[in-house]
């Protein structure tokens, strides 16, 4: 059941009543029924206020637009938490996010005691979402998040578009990266979400989104 929706720059923060669902580990995700669509959509948990689960959604297509159009009191199927979250046993965490990759960061930051963060955005309008992560450093294109990475940046946890994740990985091979893939089930049943890891197709919904033991 939708308890509130808020605009955050071009994004929508969708707050759902939590019911019996656990919020899970930061970096895990939920499958949200998108009204009128055949498939649900994977969404990272953004915030876990008391009794609620909050998702930050970028309306880029029919599914995300349907989710952003939900009104208070409407109900949708929600399944989760699903997949592998971030490993939180770290000494010097640094959060790095690009665009809607900011979505899992507020919940992650809360779990890690508000570590430093670097956020990159396409436009100033998108950068309004940085308000969800007070104290973060912000860059707007043409500048990129990797420009702010120090030589020894510590334990990087990153989420964002694939080119950004690849760039972060080149700079910080041990970084924990949260990947994306098209999904159907989200719970390991359909083999729709595979990505090639070490030469084999693995299901991102169960072996990710934060992939352990990747090359």
């Amino acid at each position: 059941m939708v308890s509130a929706t808020e605009s955050v720059g071009p994004f929508t923060l969708l707050r759902l009543e939590r019911g019996e669902l656990e919020p899970g580990v930061p970096g895990q995700f939920f499958m949200l029924e998108a009204p009128g669509r055949v498939l649900p959509r994977p969404m990272s948990l953004c915030q876990a206020p008391h009794g609620e689960l909050a998702f930050l959604i970028d309306p880029i297509g029919p599914g995300t637009r349907a989710l952003c159009a939900l009104r208070i009191g409407e109900a949708i199927h929600v399944l989760g938490p699903l997949g592998n979250g971030f490993d939180l046993d770290l000494s010097r965490p640094l959060l790095v996010a690009g665009g809607i990759g900011i979505a899992p960061m507020p919940y992650l930051a809360a779990a890690l005691g508000d570590p430093p963060a670097i956020l990159g955005f396409r436009t100033e309008h998108h950068a309004e979402a940085a308000g969800l992560l007070p104290g973060a450093e912000i860059v707007v294109e043409p500048r990129l998040v990797t420009e702010l990475l120090q030589d020894d940046p510590g334990d990087v946890l990153a989420c964002g578009p694939e080119p950004m994740l690849e760039a972060v990985r080149r700079r910080v091979p041990r970084a924990q990266l949260a990947w994306e893939a098209r999904m159907a089930c989200g719970y390991g049943a359909c083999y729709g979400c595979v990505v090639e890891i070490d030469g084999r197709y693995r299901r991102l919904c169960v072996d990710g989104p934060v992939v352990r033991d990747a090359a």
Partner: protein, 270 residues
């Protein structure tokens, strides 16, 4: 537990990596998949997957695929000794791989010679006369029909205008497939006396009643389990309360509800 049977993803003799991603895409009222029969092969399946699935305590239907009559016979023979396997479903119709050179009837006959377990033939809707296929597999020894598999579909990316799936076309499933599936069930129920498991876009108790009325004796769920993993319980509730008494279907028919999915997760989620 709301399932009368659990149908596995298709198993082939050898392990298969399947097709490159992206493998799934949504369409207006359906979806396309091009998984390409990714599976660990019959040996690893029997060793690792079967015992896990057996824990569910639900009759297991194993879907069998291959690239020759020999393949089908091989896997069926291997499953013949597995006590936990109740039914073998022969996937004669995966649109995402090159099929066997033999006809459906020849594949069924080869499987028939390899096992005494009940054999269900899963047919494609991509045929001018599905009743003819039904008669052929019945004559070859099939004990039942599973209708229908997906039909080939294509979706393009709105900017690049390239196929959205890496492999090009994929298998079309979901609500858009339902009228096609119902027509196949209807035609086959009039052509052969075999029990029919109907599937294709079932989302509600109402849809189940349509399939039963068209001639199915059981119904399987696929795509709906993605949007609603608990669909089996919900649908059974819908049948129990409102819709069913109006039609006075027998208990037997209600028990024909078959949960159809790709891994044990669907069920363990219940």
């Amino acid at each position: 537990m709301q399932l009368d049977a659990f149908v596995t993803k298709t198993v082939t003799p050898q392990a298969r990596e399947g097709n490159p991603p992206p493998r799934v895409v949504e369409t207006e009222s359906g979806m396309l998949n091009s998984i390409g029969l990714q599976n660990p092969g019959i040996d690893a399946f029997a060793r690792e997957s079967l015992p896990r699935i057996s824990e569910l305590g639900v009759p297991i239907w194993v879907s069998v695929g291959g690239f020759s009559a020999h393949d089908y016979a091989d896997v069926c023979e291997r499953l013949d000794g597995e006590a936990s396997v109740e039914v073998i479903e022969l996937n004669l119709s995966c649109p995402n791989v090159e099929g066997a050179p033999e006809t459906a009837a020849e594949l069924v006959a080869a499987a028939r010679a390899a096992t005494t377990k009940p054999l269900y033939a899963k047919l494609s809707p991509a045929t001018w006369d599905v009743a003819e296929s039904a008669r052929a597999v019945a004559a070859a020894g099939a004990d039942g029909l599973s209708l229908v598999n997906t039909i080939r579909g294509l979706a393009l990316d709105a900017t690049a205008r390239r196929p959205q799936l890496a492999r090009g076309a994929g298998g079309y499933s979901g609500p858009a497939l339902r009228p096609i599936a119902l027509a196949c069930v209807h035609a086959c129920a009039r052509a052969v006396a075999l029990p029919i498991v109907g599937m294709g876009g079932v989302t509600s108790g109402d849809d189940v009643l349509d399939f039963l009325a068209a001639g199915a004796s059981a119904v399987a769920l696929g795509t709906i389990l993605f949007a609603d993993p608990f669909a089996a319980s919900r649908i059974r509730a819908e049948l129990g309360d409102a819709v069913l008494p109006a039609l006075a279907l027998s208990e037997h028919e209600i028990h024909g509800l078959v949960g159809h999915s790709a891994s044990r997760r669907v069920v363990s989620a219940e």
